[in-house]
Structure formats: C-alpha cells, structure tokens
Amino acid sequence: MDIRTTMESLKIPATGRTPEVDFDFAQGVLRLSGESYPDDVATFFGPIFAALRAFLAEAGGHPIRFDMELLYFNSSSAKALMNIFQMLETAAGDGRSISVTWCYEENDESMQELGEDFAEDLEHVAFTLKQIPADGAS
C-alpha cells in the first residue's frame, strides 16, 4: 500500500476494496471517498486513526471539514467509521469547530439512513446530509 504521510497530509490512493484517503491537515480538509470492504479493517484503518488522533490532539488549530463520500462500506468498516466519528465528536466537544458532510447518491436510501445512524449521537459536530448525483456505475 502506497501511503504518503507528512505533518501536513495523509494520502492513500483508492484500491478496489479500500477508499481514497485525502487528509489535508494543513487546510483542515479531510476526505474519504470510494468503497470500503478491506480484507483486514484494522490494518487499513490503523494508520488513519493514528494520524487523525495526532491531528486532533493539536491545541487550537483550524476548523475541520470532513467530507464522507463513501458509496459502499461493509459492517466492519462501519465500526471503524464510528470510531472516527467518536474522535471528531470528542474534539468538537472540547471546542474545536468540526463539520461533517455525509454524501449519498440519489436513490441510495441505505446510505442516507446510515448517515442518519451515524449522526444520531453527534451533538457538537455540525452534520449535513448531502445528496449527490448517481454516477451510473452503480
């Protein structure tokens, strides 16, 4: 896996089973896009958790924008996403400004409902559901 990480960013290109990770820490803009059903969830998400934890630990810091643009994720990935949301909620509770946009393709009611599931106990994170056009590639 080709992971490029510096103090300013964490970039992991997408594979058939794992999403693209584009965390621009310097700008405070984080993005997960594509599909997630890795053969080993812990191995894939481990470095992501570590980088995010280190970034969130910085005092003060920029407001954070997190764009979730996943078209599909399996149940093991759902747990990993929950972990990410809990980290964001804790940081937001400590006063950091954090907004999350959960994108789902039109007609994808399942992904819309999953967004609602994740938003349910976010109090401090500003959460938005956003419909995007279907790309036709299912």
Binding site: G16, Y72, N74, S76, E105, S110, D117, A134
Partner: protein, 187 residues
C-alpha cells in the same frame, strides 16, 4: 463414451441449478480474493441486466457480509503462511432469482457448540420489523466488539436490514460435532 457420461452428468447438475433459478453458485474454499472477484462479477452482471442501482447495492452488501461470515466463521478451514498468511474457509454461496426477487444463500459448517448462540441471534433478528432492525443496528454500532470477535458483530443485522423479507436459516447436524448452517436472504 466417458466424455458423453461426463457431459451428461454435469448437464444434469447445471439443469438442477437452472431449474432452481440459480444464477451462480460457488462451493469450495473461499478467500478474500475470491470474495472480491465474485463480487465484481456479480455487480457487472446485474449492471448489464439493468438491475436498478439500489438493488445492485443491496445484493452486493448482503453478498459481502455472507462471504465474510463464511471466511471468518466456517468450522472447516485451512491456514498457512508463505509470504503472507493465507486462510481458506470452506463453504458455498448461491445467488439466484425466485418470484422476481434476488436471493442469496450461504452455507458453511459450524461447531455444534456455537449453534445455540447463533440460532438465538438469528431467531431474534427474524422477529424484528424494519424499524426494530434499524434501532438494533444503531445500538450494536455503538457497542465494542466481543472479545476475540473478528467482525463487528453487525454483519447479520446488516443482512437482515438490506433484505426485503425476514431472513431464513437452518442447521443440519452432520454427526461429527459440526452442523451445516444455511442462511437465506431475499432482496
């Protein structure tokens, strides 16, 4: 002579599968690589047949969870390590059409000791309506996984949630301390 019998024999098997509405069926040792390849083939086939996007996504989601259940929980598996650890789990996965709906059946052996707990979980899930399944999923999403669990313990809930009818399941005692477990979901 032999080749005629061979063709006859397998034509019979194929006819049986066709009559049951089976689109494809895989039996043998499964791995994450096979999951990926079969999953792509399944999506391509449904897309070519102009199955609507949400159905393709639901079928694919159920397929992934069922395959990963076999890979993780089959009582029949071989493991080894060459350059990287390899794990192959025996089982079968069958996808077909029945009454205008897609169905997915997975089958694998489980230890008899694990049957009561699995049966309880499935029976509980089977009795829940759509809203209750959604609530249960939300609760379990927030639970930390059980000790030693490799999955998130929400795979079965995910299957029940994406299915359009209550899930069906069954166990067959194999007399060797194991049972054959089947789970059927209709989408």
């Amino acid at each position: 002579m032999d080749s005629i019998m061979l063709a006859q024999q397998y034509a019979g098997i194929k006819r049986d599968l066709d009559e049951k509405g089976i689109i494809f069926s895989f039996s043998g040792y499964l791995s994450e690589g096979i999951l990926y390849s079969l999953g792509e083939a399944l999506r391509e086939k449904m897309t070519l047949e102009e199955t609507d996007g949400p159905t393709v996504r639901r079928v694919f989601a159920v397929f992934v969870e069922q395959m990963q259940n076999i890979i993780r929980y089959s009582a029949e598996k071989v493991t080894g390590a060459r350059e990287k650890p390899v794990e192959l789990s025996a089982g079968m996965v069958t996808i077909g059409m029945e009454g205008g709906k897609v169905f997915i059946v997975c089958g694998n052996t489980v230890y008899n000791a694990d049957v009561p707990r699995l049966r309880d979980r499935l029976e509980y899930l089977k009795g829940l309506d759509k809203d209750a399944i959604k609530t249960y999923y939300r609760e379990q999403l927030r639970e930390t996984p059980e000790e030693g669990a490799r999955g998130a313990n929400i795979g079965l809930i995910e299957i029940a949630r994406r299915a359009s009818e209550p899930i069906e399941y069954d166990f067959l005692d194999l007399d060797d301390g194991k049972s054959f477990f089947c789970l059927k979901a209709r989408i």
